[in-house]
């Protein structure tokens, strides 16, 4: 009973995601498309929640459905809400993306069964983390123990990447503003 209920909880959001993807591809009103991507992220968060990956589900809901939607809407405000002309000859792009999907599917066949305890990734360090983390770190959420302590270097790297992303945005957008100011001052001196 519980197994089939879980399957249903997975299947319904995934089918809705499929519908949303088709709507996103065929949609021309970009405002609607952005809202649909937000709904897609919420459904993805539901799927992750059903799969017991609550930490990831939380991130997906906050970043994917929340902040990216706000940023995309901000971008739309700058560039308009309507799609440009539809593509005339999408064959080259279709072939590339079709080949990539086929490759990914071939790769998927080689993956171990979902939640298979005998899979290679569950054999290496996972047993040690699960069994010894209560003795060594004593934090009930093993995800936190792995992220912050066992893999502290990786998380430091990730934090630095987030910092670099912010610094990159500052560098790009500030320069743009300076150029515009320069342009305006040049235009003003030419005008009279």
């Amino acid at each position: 009973m519980s197994f089939w209920f879980d399957q249903l909880l997975l299947l319904v959001p995934m089918l809705m995601m499929l519908v949303i993807v088709v709507l996103i591809i065929t949609g021309h009103n970009l405002f609607g498309v952005v809202i649909l991507t937000s709904a897609y992220s919420f459904l993805m968060a539901t799927v992750l929640f059903v799969l017991d990956a609550v930490d990831v589900a939380m991130t997906e809901a906050a970043v994917g459905a929340g902040i990216s939607t706000v940023l995309l809407l901000g971008a739309l405000r700058l560039c308009g809400w309507h799609d440009s002309k539809p593509m005339r000859r999408p064959w080259g792009k279709l072939i590339v993306s079709g080949a990539l999907s086929a490759l990914l599917m071939v790769g998927m066949v080689g993956l171990p069964e979902f939640s298979d305890p005998a899979a290679a990734i569950h054999q290496h360090v996972v047993p040690r983390y699960l069994i010894d983390s209560t003795k060594e770190i004593d934090v009930p959420n093993v995800v936190t123990a792995v992220l912050a302590s066992y893999r502290g270097y990786d998380t430091l790297g990730e934090t630095t990447v987030v910092f670099t992303a912010g610094a990159g945005v500052i560098a790009l957008l500030r320069r743009r503003r300076l150029q515009r100011a320069k342009h305006e001052s040049a235009g003003a001196s030419n005008a009279p």
């Binding site: 939380m58 929340g66 700058l78 934090v139 302590s149 998380t155």
Partner: protein, 143 residues
Amino acid sequence: MRHDPILQVVARLLIPFILLFALYVQFHGDFGPGGGFQAGVIFAAGIILHGLISGLDAAKKILPERLVEAMMAIGVLIYAGVGFAGIFLGGAYLDYSVLSHDPIHGQHRGIFWVEIGVAVTVCGVMLKIFYMFAGRGDVDQDN
């Protein structure tokens, strides 16, 4: 959106709970789901909602742009600082066991500060990106 009374009231009711939930996710991350990254994003989302409802300037009044820029760097410095604290106390870089007399307590202390570092940087970067995007729109409107 700013002039819709329903959105105004609902958002103003929700924002304190969003910020409180962010703090819960931050400090309860050792026991339940969550941690620094999620807490930072949720806190930033609360401020961004305030900015959408009451205007960019209202959000900048709570967390000024200079403070947000400083937060981006301070978080990484806190994280890296925990590593150096481990070295000064006779351990390896990012070894939390030496941060207290009891190794397990040291681990807890290290994780606490490291998560705060992550949250501060993530919150700062998210808010900075939002400020920059939203601010560009205003510049264009002025032109």
